[in-house]
């Protein structure tokens, strides 16, 4: 039973105002086409969650679709601090988001706990830091400290997260949603499987038989998936291993633009509101920077050795 649809349909049907949304990928495989579509559809009051966040989260915050952020980190990498994030936190522009801060150990484990049906998980970090002294919308549900019933030692427990929807970008999926990745995993498998439903954006839709040729690459099985979108170049300006490189020049453009509210708005107008979908975005990219610039992002060929599952 096919779940193939457009990003517009998927975001419209499966991302509701007020949802908690897990968005996978950090530089590697961010589902940027879907992030743009969320902004384009002017979703409201989202809670967004991921360990390590970059330009995709910064842009959503600047666009005003985010009310709450469960995170660990947000920056533009080599380009420094997230401008929209700072404006929100320091000046309330466009509004101040509420933020619940964890770490790159605790937050992935909270997603893992959600994915495994555990209600909480013990972690050994955050102790002795001010991360235990601040909380926001999660209140005193941010964490608990108990004396371990095994050895009596103080132990921090953090709650499982079960996002309403997860959006991930993967290399390939079949039309029912079996999704496969390779390369840096981030917290993608835990985050996607923690969610109540998953939107799978992929570079290419492949036949179910292709999935079956290498089933150990699958991170999300079909029955968890609500929508499958074929969105080549869907992670740009992030990258997808085996498909295309990270685009530092667009990253720089974004940083420069987002230095001011006006610049940020103009950037959105040009790259999000002003284009109907990912196809139009790519066409605009080629139009503006030339086909050579686009082509230069294309990945080199360097294939792995095939393996066999036969018996």
């Amino acid at each position: 039973m096919t779940k193939v649809m457009t990003t517009r349909e998927a975001v419209s049907k499966f991302v509701a105002d007020g949802d908690m949304v897990y968005i996978g990928g950090y530089i590697c495989r961010p589902p940027f086409a879907a992030v743009h579509e969320i902004i384009r559809q002017r979703k409201k009051d989202l809670t967004v969650v991921r360990s390590n966040a970059a330009d995709d989260f910064d842009m959503m915050i600047g666009a005003g679709v985010v009310s709450r952020f469960i995170g660990t980190f947000l920056s533009l990498g080599v380009y420094g601090l997230g401008r929209c994030y700072r404006r929100s936190m320091e000046k309330g522009v466009p509004h101040k988001i509420d933020i619940e801060e964890y770490t790159n150990l605790s937050l992935p484990l909270m997603l893992m706990a959600g994915s495994l049906g555990m209600s909480f998980v013990p972690v050994n970090d955050m102790k002795g830091s001010d991360l235990l002294n601040v909380s926001s919308f999660m209140g005193d549900g941010k964490y608990k400290i108990i004396d371990s019933p095994f050895d009596g030692r103080p132990t921090v427990l953090v709650p499982a997260l079960r996002p309403d929807v997860a959006i991930i970008h993967v290399q390939q999926a079949d039309e029912t949603g079996n999704a496969q990745i390779w390369g840096i995993g981030g917290d993608c498998k835990a985050g996607a499987n923690a969610a109540k439903k998953v939107i799978v954006s992929c570079e290419r839709i492949v036949d179910r038989d292709v999935i079956g040729k290498d089933p150990s690459r699958t991170i999300v099985p079909s029955f968890k998936v609500a929508a499958v979108v074929e969105e080549p170049f869907g992670a740009h300006p992030g990258y997808t291993p085996g498909f295309y490189d990270v685009d530092f020049s667009l990253g720089f453009l974004y940083q420069q633009a987002s230095n001011t509210v006006e610049g940020f708005e103009a950037f959105l107008e040009e790259w999000v509101y002003g284009v109907a979908d990912r196809g139009a975005y790519i066409a605009h990219y080629i139009d503006r920077f030339g086909y050579a610039a686009y082509q230069k992002l294309m990945a080199a060929f360097d294939y792995s050795y095939p393996v066999s599952y036969a018996y």
Partner: protein
């Protein structure tokens, strides 16, 4: 004060070498980008060929063809020994006790080696909102040794950080044990653009261990916002060796991207 004739090395190179010298062969090292990655790679190409470098995003023993610009950089994928996930590195390797060395940089570092990467000013009404912990807190908590990189001035070094994102010795000796941290963990040194500070385990406080060529003890004391103790055997930091410089310039960073740190004040 020794010479650096014709400026044959720049300060970020020296700092990277200071980091490299803290790594022993076979160490398992979590590196981020920039200095930490450079330091770890210098070590790997000189005295620690069997050191294992990893990035928190899930990569172990990468073979990048250029310096990685983020922990998720594409160049970390091909050729690595393992392209796993955050939970593999932060949980399976770090929390499970396998990581010998973590490298952190801080917007603010205090005398106990506590690091702030969260906010300048009040948390709820920040003067400046910084990126947050990311992997820093668990690395500072759980790695056997933490190396800290910082700028040496009254803004970046502090008597007390505005926000403890990553615990060093917290408020002094015994504090880590009190929280049940793994034994014998904690900050090893603060590598600044002026000096290497080490920690007196009996007080949990940093002291001056060596001053970089071109700096003096007096200058360093004046740039440090707390009463910095000076080691009896304080010495001048060994400049980069020819072999270290060769590795940096010929192998790791032929385009000398490290020079961007000079623009950030690492002089």
């Amino acid at each position: 004060m020794s010479e650096n004739p014709n400026n044959y090395y720049i300060k970020p190179e020296l700092m990277a070498c200071c980091g490299a010298r803290e790594i022993r062969d076979h160490d398992v090292v979590i590196v981020g980008t920039g200095f930490p990655a450079m330091s770890a790679n210098i070590a790997k190409h000189t005295h620690s060929p069997n050191a294992i470098l990893m990035q928190e995003s899930g990569v172990v023993d990468a073979r990048p063809m250029r310096p990685a610009l983020s922990v998720g950089d594409p160049c970390l994928n091909p050729g690595s020994a393992m392209a796993g996930c955050l939970i593999d590195v932060m949980g399976m390797f770090l929390q499970a006790g396998w990581v010998d060395v973590g490298f952190l940089s801080g917007s603010q570092v205090d005398k106990f080696g506590n690091i702030n990467t969260t906010c300048i000013g009040d948390y709820h009404h920040p003067k400046s909102r910084l990126p947050g912990s990311g992997g820093a807190n668990p690395i500072g908590t759980l790695a056997k040794k933490t190396l800290i990189i910082a700028l040496h001035d009254h803004r970046r070094l502090a008597e007390k950080v505005d926000f403890i994102t990553t615990p060093g010795y917290i408020d002094g000796p015994g504090a880590r044990d009190g929280w049940g941290f793994p034994p014998n963990t904690g900050p090893e040194c603060i590598i600044t653009n002026k000096a290497v500070l080490r920690f007196d385990k009996s007080t949990g406080q940093a002291y001056l261990a060596s001053y970089h060529p071109g700096s003096t003890v007096e200058e360093i004391l004046s740039l440090t916002p707390w009463h910095l103790k000076v080691a009896d055997d304080v010495f001048e930091t060994l400049p980069p060796t020819p072999e270290e410089l060769r590795v940096i310039r010929e192998v790791l960073d032929p385009h000398r991207m490290i020079r961007i740190y000079e623009g950030r004040g690492y002089v």
